[in-house]
């Protein structure tokens, strides 16, 4: 009997020791985390705020809000405020925003009527703020020596639904015979919505036989590696990859204009220069930490845009931004 009892005890001890070890590891991991999360308030004159600021939406605008969150963390003097940024896409972001799940929604196009209705149905009021500019840039490979400028009509011929254009010489008879390979934005993105609205005349109307990706680096890789490739994305992606890609000028009726900081700002790069937005909900703006973050965002907009390498606002746009935000503050 004794040996049995002993074996049982040994077995039981081994078992419980293993279980204990597992629990200890888990507990340690958790304890380690909560230590890190402790707030270490920086010195600052104002009252200390805390809580979360939830931002979600367009992946195009996300770098801007991330830069805002980073600068806010360092210079905002509110170490207790936690800003998180998600990238559900402009449409996905509005879906959450209109359910009251986020405070701020990043958007690379204005809110649609259907989304507005969803917000209204849920009792969510909001303010639209323009925070930066962008030039949707049409890019081709560096090996493309023939094309320099495309008209909106030519772009439409390429991108319209059911387009059969699959060779550069179909775009313009002067172009050589080179297979056309298309890369573009995924259908959930505001970039896709904006491009199709401006080029094809109808939001969401596009040919479907192209390489669609939410990841613009796929377009960079694809176009730079394909002699007859063509794609489009935000100006930042072109700037970062200017060594690999060539940006086409676009003729919107008033001659060929190249995408640049200047032409995006003064809106001469037509029709593909666009504003970028953040939407702030009234319920969000009522929370002191959200209000504090948004006012910091607006006051430091120049630094934020510079850090995120976006196209800055014009003085006029900045004035509008400030007055819009003041109106929002007054309303809540």
């Amino acid at each position: 009997m004794h040996p049995d009892r002993e074996a049982y005890l040994v077995n039981r001890n081994v078992l419980s020791r293993r279980v204990l070890a597992g629990v200890a590891v888990a507990a340690l991991a958790l304890a380690g985390c909560s230590d890190n999360a402790e707030n270490t308030d920086a010195a600052g004159g104002e009252t200390k705020l805390s809580g979360e600021v939830k931002v979600d939406g367009s992946s195009t605008v996300a770098p801007l809000s991330e830069a805002a969150a980073s600068i806010y963390k360092e210079e905002g003097g509110q170490a207790g405020v936690n800003v998180s940024v998600g990238t559900s896409g402009t449409g996905g972001g509005f879906e959450k925003f209109c359910k009251g799940e986020t405070d701020i929604s990043n958007a690379s196009r204005p809110i649609k009527d259907a989304e507005k209705a969803a917000c209204e149905a849920a009792g969510i009021k909001f303010k639209e703020l323009i925070v930066a500019n962008d030039a949707l840039t049409v890019v081709v490979s560096k090996d493309n020596t023939w094309a320099d400028c495309l008209t909106v009509d030519q772009l439409k011929k390429i991108w319209e639904p059911n387009s059969k254009v699959n060779n550069w010489n179909q775009v313009d008879p002067k172009f050589p015979s080179e297979p056309l390979k298309l890369f573009g934005a995924g259908t959930d993105s505001g970039t896709f919505d904006y491009f199709t609205a401006e080029i094809n005349g109808e939001e969401g109307a596009s040919r479907t036989d192209y390489t669609a990706s939410e990841n613009d680096n796929v377009t960079v890789q694809g176009v730079s590696g394909t002699k007859g490739g063509l794609g489009y994305f935000g100006f930042t992606y072109f700037e970062e990859n200017a060594a690999k890609l060539k940006a086409l000028k676009v003729d919107g009726g008033a001659g060929c204009v190249e995408p640049s900081l200047k032409t995006a700002q003064d809106n001469t790069y037509k029709p593909l220069s666009r504003p970028l937005f953040i939407y702030v909900s009234d319920a969000g703006a009522k929370k002191p930490q959200v209000e504090n973050f948004v006012s910091f965002y607006i006051e430091s907009i120049d630094d934020i845009v510079k850090e995120a390498k976006f196209v800055p606002l014009t003085e006029q746009q900045k004035g509008t931004l400030k007055s819009e935000f003041d109106a929002l503050k007054a309303a809540v």
Binding site: Y8, P63, S70, I71, G86, V220, K309
Partner: protein, 305 residues
Amino acid sequence: MSAPTLTPTRPEPSAPGAALTQRRSRPGEVAFRLAMQSCLVIAFGVLASLLAWVLIKGWNRLDSRLWTEMPTGLTSRLDGAGVQSALVGTLWIISLVAVICLPIGILSAIYLEEYADNTRWYNRLLELNIQNLAGVPSIIFGILGLGIIARALGLGFTVITAAIVLSLLVLPVVIIATREAIRAVPQSIRQASYALGATKWQTVSRQVLPSAVPGIATGSILALSRAIGEAAPLIVLGAVTFITFNPDGLDSAYTALPIQIYTFITRPQAEFAELAAGAIVLLLAIVLVMNSIAIFVRNRFEKRW
């Protein structure tokens, strides 16, 4: 006929041994062997080149910055960025998955293996469903979690939602692995225990379970390694992509390494790609450590009958 006149085409060899030696030289045999070897080379070659690529790409970032620094949105400060919040988020989630999933999975397996009556239709239905659940794509669990756990139950886009959904995802794996381990304990051990007057519970808890621990531990750790690399359900479950604080509770916003890696890869700046490669190596290292623990536990505590 006699042995010296054997030819490969001989229809009925007199000695079986002679037939075996003949077959070895057939071209089909050689071709099959080569095919198997080249499959092995291809599999390992792809894996090795992926590893090499990630290591080379992320080499500059493979230091303590990875886990001591937070991500940043400042393109001028990318050199000092890390993935601490994602690493801690992943550790939170995986610890919670272990706490939620292992007790439920192991107890379910004990019930199914030791207590359930297999002749009952509902038990067989249960088993069938568990097997099927193991094959459901993870994104489906994500959508289920979004609809039921995040929204209907109101848990929101939080650490606990992610942990519950990933627990559900790997639960079938844990149950199946645990059942295999319990089944491997010989029937004679149970009978000997009963013969000594032990009750059913005493037999299960003092004989069967301790013997099955190596198998259960291995299966559980492998299940957790699967959960740690999952990105698809977390995308749906509102894992944010930029967060400069670590989770501080079950209801905290979070991100996880696979999500962070995916986001970094989509960014235009080359520094993000480097950081992503560094984070991939970090994630691989975690999975490797977990799998090594599984192998160690199996070898150290394995019993043979």
